[in-house]
Symmetry: D2
Subunit: 111 residues, 4 copies
């Protein structure tokens, strides 16, 4: 385990968790909520995956490579959806960026 | 600590967690999602409060009376909102019932 | 998705969550805590994996097969450790059983 | 809600979460684990309370003042125990500091 990669991944997971929690709440306030259903749904899963993964990394769990693989998938799915709304909603643009950064940080710990 | 009250509260928290997770997802599929914003929001908080409280109870934490007090508040708020939609959405009716049962079980462990 | 297999897996995850939370706390009370280090460590990871997976299943998340695969791994690792102590500690014996049941229920949702 | 106090509290909760997860794992590796039982136990509760509270704050939940009150209690209890071991274990010293900082940040959001 490379301590710097671990720390970077923890930081990316926590930033992504914050972005997803905020994006879900902001989507629930949008006039065009009808378009944001998938985004809210994926924010929820991605936030849970990031929190779970960050905690395993913090405690040095041997399960972390598997959690990182799952978290990367959750981030990729959430980013793909948020990117569709990035031009209209700043919270989606920032969430997509946090998801892509977390996806990359997680993938570095899978291989 | 009365073991029977503890077990009943764990069961009520887990039933409420399941009802809230299901209700949030079902609300995200409803044609009238515009009306369900508050419900989705409160389902999310209530689910997290129930999961947190159930785990403290399972592990015999000294923090459980405070968690039960908070969980009862979260359940009451979610039930109040779900009850508004109970006539139209079966998932809201069932969620409101699970929230009220969990609120009662939690309150028995606060006093 | 087969609703009966989903429900059985949710139930198995929640039973395993309860067993792991209880086992960790009970291990922390054991006179031979020196022998229980690995058990406490794995109980913690397994409890988190079970809670995470149960919630994804409850909400009908598309991420659930990956979570079930990860949860099965966490359960297998925890069961293997708890089985070493099953003859001496009833909480470990019951935890190992709950882990094996959850591992099996999760594997049915991976394939 | 004061956005700066909210952000400071989120940051304090996440720093405390990381310190508690690390401290619990480090305690599980200590030769004098017999002395660290209470520390591991309280680290676990405090980590869960911090994660729960941080997420409510991130999503702008109305439940956050109650969560902050509970989190402050969890932090105070964990700090008190960790401070007993601060002279011998660096992870306990750092955990106690993170707990006290988080307790203070949470209390600012209760009143």
């Amino acid at each position: 385990m490379n301590p710097q990669l671990i720390q970077e991944c923890i930081d990316a997971c926590l930033a992504c968790l914050a972005a997803c929690e905020h994006c879900a709440s902001a989507c629930l306030d949008e006039p065009d909520i009808d378009m944001m259903r998938g985004c809210i749904r994926l924010d929820r899963d991605c936030a849970d995956a990031c929190a779970f993964t960050a905690r395993l990394l913090m405690r040095g769990s041997a399960l972390h490579p598997r959690a990182c693989a799952l978290c990367a998938e959750a981030c990729a799915a959430c980013a793909e959806e948020c990117e569709k709304h990035a031009a209209h909603h700043d919270h989606c643009r920032r969430c997509a960026e946090a998801c892509r950064a977390c996806e990359a940080a997680c993938r570095r710990l899978v291989a």
